[in-house]
Amino acid sequence: MNKQLFADPEKCTGCNRCASVCSAMKTGSFAPSVARIKVNNFPHRGFAVPSVCFQCPNAPCHKACPSGAISRNDADVVVVDAQKCIACGSCVKACPYGMIELGEQLVAAKCDHCDGDPACVKECFPGALVYTEKTPELMKLKGMQMKQRSSDGRSEEKRHRLGRAILKQLRD
């Protein structure tokens, strides 16, 4: 069975090392603003919610792509073929979670599990990110997060809305 990346907001401390290492691996410098994983941090409430790509089974980004640049591979990871990407931004609009964005090379960029060895998971000391085969508990956790879909707004607004909704659900 293929492994999945799961995020547990209750364990997230808001340290952002995941975004830091992701940006370093993917772009060669430290720039969390272009990381493929983001943390929605709510310092006033002492709460943080990671925003990760859910590698959706019927991925809206896949469906929206007009050039066939997006596909789902054998590891069940939704990947972008940079050669085919025309930087139209349709996938960015389509993603309900704000987890695919146009990067600096004008190519759609998203989490690709680092070819089966996710750097973010290795960096996560509190264990808020796990890379493992699914369990009922993990799937329930993922399902709760996947319910928080946005149909419009900027990517960061979609992520923030997911974060706020989870905060409300788990804290209030």
Binding site: G14, C15, V21, S29, S33, F125
Partner: protein, 587 residues
């Protein structure tokens, strides 16, 4: 440029001019970053006699080479200026995420000059920097101000610095808050912003930080993180947080109790790390920190990140308040109104002793937690006679009521939560700190010989020098086992240039001496490197150190030895040889 952005942001609030200037490369190898670099820039920006609350005073806020990179525990940010509370030069550091964000916006630091004639806030979004009207925010607490700053700017995830009403009212132990529960806590940073009519700063950055060899840098970071950071020396921060020190200091008999009258608290189990963990609902980290020492607690309807050790003591046992819920409320209201919990708590405990002893009736006695919460509001608003009195802080309160026998301060900065009569090293540390009584610059509580003067003097000097360079790298103190060898390794790989531990050690001593030099040019000398009357004369009660004082003769021996070993004269002025050795003779 590697590690640094190479650019400083300069804002003149009098002329409303905003500009950038390149980071002076010749200062990098001498001062490195954060504290050291801020100090050097501050030295050039003002004269030593400058009035802290005047438009002539400057504020220098500086990140370091590792800020915003994967090096753990390097998100701390230094603010250097002259304190309205003590009249000394000082640095105050804040954790959280503002420092890295400033770097992602493209700036190594921020220099603030002048004063605005109307309330403003500074907006930084990468290259777009502007001063905006803050009139609508005046009078608001820090929590509400943070929300306003984020909303007005419309940037999700922007980081903020903000003052509350206490800073607006120029209370000299008011502070600047960030991310609600973090602060540039001590020395009156809030009043500095307030005097400049600067309500806050909001920053969002989307740029990047380069290193010379990224794969090697990550490999070295991971190595040091695993081999050095994740060891017993440091993991307490993750498992217990600073509240662990409640039990530690009680065991040592140096726990501040009832305005420093006793060395142990009989009810420590109400405030120790077990008590805090029972109330904890999450662990919280600063940017880039795996340890997450922050314990976010909730009792009843009140939540706060904390309370940390100092607040548990100076807002707890030292006021004889042993109700964790009350301390959480005290913590939260200080964080919102913008008051340093340490100076506030210490001044309140002094007022409690003055009331109970009949010296002066402030209407508050030890243990009265409802009353002390009311008092915090009165202080922040300057709304009552007693509020206005306590806003003076321990030193000026002692002058007003001839009560130096009850005030616990050095150079006007209220003493932290480690009893010097039970550890002379802490006394020496408090007396020789550049900003007044501070437990951070040297922390010899674990010394096996807490009363052996010479050994303690050596330890204090070594710690102060090391902290000079440590805080110039933005390290958090909770990487307790960090050293200059690891730092030199990471700098070398990050910069692509060879850096040695020896040059970093020298830089630390240079930075400490430069701080001292500023103070001496401002009239500070041996008389000010002193300890409170209580410490010198009153025997401590209760616990393993009952009966002890730090006798004036012993203290005098310690101070003279300290000066001699540092190469300073009998007034504590760095000698010409020492200055030449450190490259400070031309400054």
């Amino acid at each position: 440029m590697n590690l640094y952005t190479g650019k400083l942001l300069v804002v003149d609030l009098s002329t409303k001019e905003i500009s950038t200037e390149p980071l002076r490369k010749e200062w990098i190898r001498q001062y490195w970053g954060s504290w050291g670099l801020a100090l050097r820039y501050y030295w050039d920006a003002v004269t030593p006699e400058v009035d802290p609350l005047s438009a002539d005073n400057a504020i220098v806020i500086m990140t370091g080479p590792f800020s915003g990179t994967l090096v753990p525990l390097t998100s701390r940010l230094s603010l250097v200026s002259k304190s309205p509370h003590t009249g000394t030069i000082f640095t105050s550091n804040v954790g959280g995420a503002f420092g890295p964000e400033l770097k992602y916006a493209g700036y190594d630091g921020l220099i603030i000059k002048g004063a605005s004639d109307s309330p403003v806030f500074l907006k930084i979004v990468d290259d777009e920097v502007s001063l905006e009207d803050a009139s609508d925010m005046m009078g608001k607490g820090i929590f509400e101000t943070e929300e306003c700053l984020e909303d007005v700017v419309g940037e999700i995830g922007a980081k903020t610095l903000a003052i509350g009403p206490a800073g607006e009212k120029l209370i000299t132990y008011s502070m600047i808050g960030s991310e609600s529960y973090r602060q540039f806590g001590r020395s009156g940073t809030g009043a500095l912003f307030g005097s400049k009519n600067l309500k806050g700063v909001v920053c969002k950055g989307s740029q990047s930080i380069a290193v010379a060899d990224m794969p090697k840098f990550i490999e070295r970071v991971t190595h040091h993180k695993t081999e050095n950071l994740f060891t017993e020396d440091n993991l307490w921060a993750n498992s217990d947080g600073t509240a662990v020190l409640v039990d530690v200091t009680n065991e040592m008999g140096i726990h501040p109790t009832k305005n420093y009258s006793a060395g142990i608290s009989e009810r420590k189990e109400t405030l120790n790390s077990d008590a805090v963990k029972a109330a904890k609902i999450s662990d919280r980290a600063c940017s880039g920190c795996p340890l997450a020492c922050g314990k976010f607690t909730k009792i009843g309807e009140t939540e706060v990140e904390g309370p940390e050790y100092e607040t548990l003591c100076l807002g707890g046992s030292n006021c004889d308040v042993h109700d964790l819920e009350a301390i959480i409320k005290f913590n939260r209201v200080c964080d919102d109104l913008g008051l340093d919990t340490m100076s506030c708590g210490s001044t309140i405990s002094m007022a409690m002793e003055m009331t109970e002893s009949g010296r002066h009736d402030f209407g508050i006695r030890f243990g009265e937690s409802d009353e002390y919460l009311k008092l915090v509001e009165e202080i922040a608003a300057l709304s009552t006679d007693r509020g206005r009195d306590l806003a003076l802080g321990a030193k000026r309160l002692a002058v007003k009521y001839d009560s130096a026998d009850m005030s616990m301060e050095v150079k006007g900065l209220e003493v932290p939560a480690y009893e010097p009569r039970g550890n002379y090293g802490m006394g020496i540390a408090y007396a020789t700190s550049e900003r007044g009584a501070c437990h951070l610059r040297a922390f010899p509580i674990f010394s096996e010989t807490p009363f052996e003067i010479e050994a303690l003097v050596d330890e204090v000097i070594e710690s102060q020098n090391f902290n000079g360079i440590k805080w110039s790298m933005c390290y958090c103190d909770f990487w307790g086992s960090i050293n200059t060898e690891i730092t030199a390794d990471l700098l070398s790989v990050g910069l692509g240039e060879e850096v040695t531990a020896a040059e970093l050690d020298k830089a630390g001593e240079r930075i400490w001496n430069l701080s001292r030099l500023f103070n001496t040019k401002n009239g500070f000398g041996a008389a000010e490197d002193s300890l409170p009357e209580k410490v010198l004369k009153n025997p401590l009660r209760k616990g393993p150190n009952a009966g002890k004082t730090f006798d004036p003769e012993d203290f005098s021996v310690a101070l003279n030895s300290y000066y001699k070993k540092r190469g300073w004269d009998e007034q504590g002025r760095p000698g010409t040889e020492k200055l030449a050795e450190l490259g400070l003779d031309q400054i």
